[in-house]
Amino acid sequence: MPDLSTPIGLSLIVVALPLVGCLLAALCHVGRAVKLAHLPVIVSFASAAAIACYVLYAVSGQSGDLIQTASLGTWFSSGRLSVPLAFQLDPLSAVMLAMVTFIATFIAIFSASYMHGEAGYARYFAFIALFVFAMCLLVTANNFFVLVAGWEGVGLCSYLLVGYYYAKPSAAAAARKAFLVTRLGDVGLILGIFLLWKAGGYQTNIDAVIRHIAEHPPGDGYMTAACLLLFCGAVGKSAQLPLYVWLPDAMEGPTPVSALIHAATMVTAGVYLLARTAPLFVMSPTAQVVVTIIGGATAVLAAFIALAQYDLKRVLAYSTVSQLGFMFMALGCGAAISPTIAVTAALFHLLTHAFFKALLFLGSGSVMHAMGNVIDMRKFGGLRKLMPTTHWTFLIGSLALAGFPLLSGFWSKDRILHALSEAGYSRSEFHYLYQAVFYTACLTALLTAFYTFRAYFLTFWGEERVPPEAHGHAHESPRTMTIPLVVLAVGAVFVGIIADPLTHWFDHLLERAPVLHQANEAFTKTTNLKVGEHHFDWGVAGLSTLIAVAGIGAAAAVYRRGGPERVPGPLRGIFALSANKAYVDEIYGATVVLPAETAATGGRQLDGFLDALARLVSFVPRFAAAVLRPLQNGLVQFYALGMVLGLAVFITVVVFRSVR
């Protein structure tokens, strides 16, 4: 047991607090104090966030080796496999921990009003506390299996929360989809972990595996396979091609849950996993370039689909998929330029994205709350006078997402673009691919600015229209909902500029993470290149400013007067393609689901046959039993005879065999 006053001890407290909150909320459910269920959760989140921020402060103030580990004993062991309950704290974990708990606190405060009066109020809070606990466990785990425990916990909670309105068929289907699709990726993750277990000298602690593999590198093919399998897990959890389809449907859950999934927990898990295992990915340039390409393809496809969606939350959901694509694009540059630059860029974007995406989702929740749970942008419009706070905070979130200069999204997106352009001119054998991805990223940025402001204008500009479902009660949301919006908006404006260009605090903190040192060492070993440094590139910054302004301008030109949709004739086809989500669900249906259903039908026929066979087999034990049953006839003299006869048989056999 580590000393609880050290940073690692405090971080364990941070992990435990949401669990306590979860149990108390569950008790509220049982103990008929349902209306108070939000209190333990908000208090535990807030105190966890305060402690996590202190831990982050303590870690960044430390000198020397910035990793601390702790083990709470052995979880289980069997043969060669030994799984300690191991935790670690390094800058990576500290940043994630602080971000997750901070965002979750405000989402919980927002939820308290948003979910007011819902059936299952306590259930909701118990689940989000469990959700945050699982995520904290995931980011502090120093053991692959503890990480998987958090990983699966996150998956389970997403199922429970997306399916919160379980009586609604679409919500139940979305929950199932989220669980099953991420499960596909999880299979890869587990397989990858076992490959690493084998290559890592049969250890399961993450740092030990990385160290062992650095000293005894297995073959290139082996590492590529292991890394790609890990990436499979990340693809599922972080909603990348081809497994992104669950995320847009996941907004069937309550809106704050979407904010939690899209901003702080769940989808960032994949990005974190790749950052945590960066030293392994550096050893396989092929795996890295695959990561970049998948990220790029996802980003542009999701941005394209977001162009023509009418559902405000759906636009935001596709934008999350697209922004995660950006993070993976950056992560994939590690083997071409420098792991530090790549991972820092990705995590920086993760951090800023958490703020503005949580803000946008809560903003859309606020709109939905006022509109009587209507979220179709065709049914309302011109809300900027009706809901001024929501409008202003949403505008800030949109500007940050679009990458408008000086807001947080600008700085982090700029770093990703910069990393990609550097990779495009590097001596990597894949540099032309990186170049292609760079142009894709620029195109995606343009689309992002456009669709974000399309949604913004359609919702808040034009003449004021309110759907009948609002029953004339359309008004600004209560304080408890607007205050989180304001706090997150402040974050969305300032986090980027304070953390990076002004103080370089984020850079300095992350570059001292041992995991990045190891990645850098592996990088110099494999490529014989010196580790590059990040520097601000006026060219890329200018380009991205231009793109953002162009996108916003185009959206303003078309949608300034609000709805309804006006599509010029020649573009109708493309618009339909985007509105129908590029027919991806239909393509999956035809290529994956239909053959599977056919196979299932065939399997069912076979099953009938096997069932008959099994019945026949299962008859055998019963038959044998019926034959043996008369032996138990209840007569004690017969029993004694049986015992003695049995003994006699044994002795006879033994004697004859040993004498012979």
């Binding site: 043996l628 049986g642 015992m643 044994f650 033994v654 040993s658």
Partner: protein, 520 residues
């Protein structure tokens, strides 16, 4: 030279008392209870006194240090090393649970006698774990058997109860005679009643791998007699006949003892006689260099588990069903005995005997838990006899149903329960035995048979589970009252889950209790 003229022997004999203080305390409290019984002792008083006795014995066991350093294995009649303290704690915890269970069976006028017999039986089990002499071992086994005859008779003086008590008595005496016969052979072969001397001299005389003279037929016959005698206690086929009849007629609390305590005593005694579970390094007397005894155990294990599972399939009576299930689980545990006592250990931390001890613990929790639920549900006005009597329990009695469900899941061997971990350890131990001995791959075949048996057993456990939760209750719901039996049932079920989720500390204890005996 007679033993009495050997001063060292006499010293060790008299010094032995310090290794059995908790057992002395248990028997002392039992005597007190017998005395009080003459003065009409009330039910709660007897229960409290018995519980205090168990706790007192536990305190003595935990606090009074045992001078293990002064123990000389070839002289002392009591051996405090090896599995001794593990078995003692098992017996004490079991005794505490049984005292709680006894609440249901002591409605008659003899509560004090009941609890006194119970304490003596527990002391007997504990002594089996530490007996280092054929005489003390036999005495310990009888200390378990004789109170059980009384216990079977005390609470239920119906015809069925009397019949089951009588059946158990007659057959148990028969098996004790067989066991004693085997002991006399062992004494004759080794020239000593000291267990350590017996095992080492048998091991020294046994054939080695490279030369292949026949094992002495007498040694083999002696061990077959021992297996037959102890086979009655662990209900191994064909010495199992009593089990279903006695279980059906006996009072539930006593049947719960009968399902567990003799199994602990029988398996530990068998393992000790075959040369494991104590600290001596004399080697295994019946290892796979010669296949006679290993094959005998193999056959008994296979027949026992298959027979138990097959006949349980057809049972409607719950107690008979659990009797057959107990027989089947005894078959699984015989795998542990077989691996531990005959096979060269595959690795330093996998010996078979630790798997056996762990399974004993797991089996005790889940079986006693199940019986505790049955005891809780049966009352003077309501008898739970058949599977159908449990219909709809999930609605009328959710807590009891949940406890029973956990125990059943564990008996099936589903993950996150003690039964899963126990089966996994047992089966792994058998599967990892090297195939280059004379047994060839028979151990692996045994594992496969055991796994198939575990699958067959799921049928009858799942049937109960289905009745519990999916059927409508037959009889009107009774108001749920908390009873000591329910406390025992919930505790057993909870412990089953703990053991299944976090088995590591318990597995370490069993590993410590079962030192690996090096191959010769």
């Amino acid at each position: 030279m007679t033993p009495l003229s050997n001063q060292a022997f006499v010293d060790h004999l008299t010094a032995s008392v310090q290794f059995v203080l908790p057992e002395v305390a248990l028997v002392g409290v039992a005597c007190l209870l017998f005395l009080v019984a003459a003065l009409r002792c009330s039910r709660p008083l007897a229960m409290v006194v018995a519980l205090l006795g168990v706790v007192g014995a536990g305190v003595i066991a935990a606090l009074v240090p045992e001078p293990v350093g002064r123990f000389e294995p070839s002289l002392a009649p009591i051996d405090p090393t090896g599995a001794a303290s593990f078995v003692r704690w098992l017996a004490l915890v079991a005794a505490a649970v049984y005292v709680l269970l006894g609440w249901a069976d002591t409605r008659t006028d003899t509560p004090a006698e009941y609890h006194a017999c119970l304490l003596v039986a527990a002391a007997g089990v504990s002594l089996v774990g530490r007996a280092n002499d054929l005489v003390s071992l036999f005495l310990a086994l009888e200390m378990l058997s004789i109170p059980t005859y009384v216990l079977l008779y005390l609470p239920s003086r119906t015809r069925a109860g009397q019949e089951s008590a009588m059946k158990y008595f007659l057959l148990s005496v028969l098996s004790s005679a067989v066991l004693l016969f085997g002991f006399s052979y062992l004494y004759g072969l080794a020239g000593s009643t000291n267990l350590h001397v017996v095992v080492s001299s048998l091991a020294a005389a046994a054939p080695h791998k490279d030369l292949d003279p026949a094992v002495s037929p007498l040694a083999a016959v002696a061990m077959v007699l021992v297996i037959a005698g102890l086979g009655f206690r662990v209900a191994a086929v064909p010495f199992h006949f009593y089990a279903p009849d006695v279980y059906e007629g006996g009072p539930t609390g006593v049947v719960a003892q009968l399902a567990f305590l003799p199994k602990v005593a029988g398996f530990v005694a068998l393992a000790r006689l075959l040369g494991v579970m104590s600290a001596h390094g004399g080697g295994l007397p019946y290892d796979t260099a010669h296949t006679l005894i290993p094959l005998t155990l193999w056959v008994v294990a296979v027949v026992t588990m298959s027979f138990g599972n097959l006949l349980a399939l057809l049972q409607d009576n719950l107690k008979r069903l659990f009797a057959y299930s107990g027989i089947a689980h005894g078959g699984y545990m015989l795998i542990g005995v077989l691996v531990a006592c005959t096979a060269p250990p595959a690795s330093a931390d996998q010996s078979g005997s630790d798997a056996l001890l762990f399974y004993l613990l797991a089996y005790g929790l889940m079986t006693v838990g199940a019986f505790a639920v049955l005891a809780h549900l049966s009352g003077p006005d309501r008898h739970v006899e058949t599977v159908d009597d449990l219909a709809g329990l999930g609605k009328t009695n959710p807590l009891a149903a949940a406890a029973l469900a956990v125990c059943l899941f564990s008996l099936i061997g589903l993950p996150l329960t003690a039964g899963f971990v126990g089966k996994l350890q047992l089966f792994l131990a058998a599967f990892q035995v090297p195939t280059d001995t004379k047994m060839k791959s028979l151990f692996q075949v045994l594992t496969v048979i055991a796994v198939v048996n575990a699958a067959v057993s799921a049928v009858y456990y799942l049937r109960i589970l289905g009745v519990l939760y999916l059927r409508a209750p037959f009889k009107p719901a009774q108001p749920t009252r908390t009873s000591p039996q329910l406390v025992a049932a919930v505790a057993c079920a909870a412990a089953t889950l703990v053991l299944g989720v976090y088995p590591q500390p318990f597995a370490e204890q069993t590993r410590k209790a079962a030192p690996v005996v090096a191959a010769r």
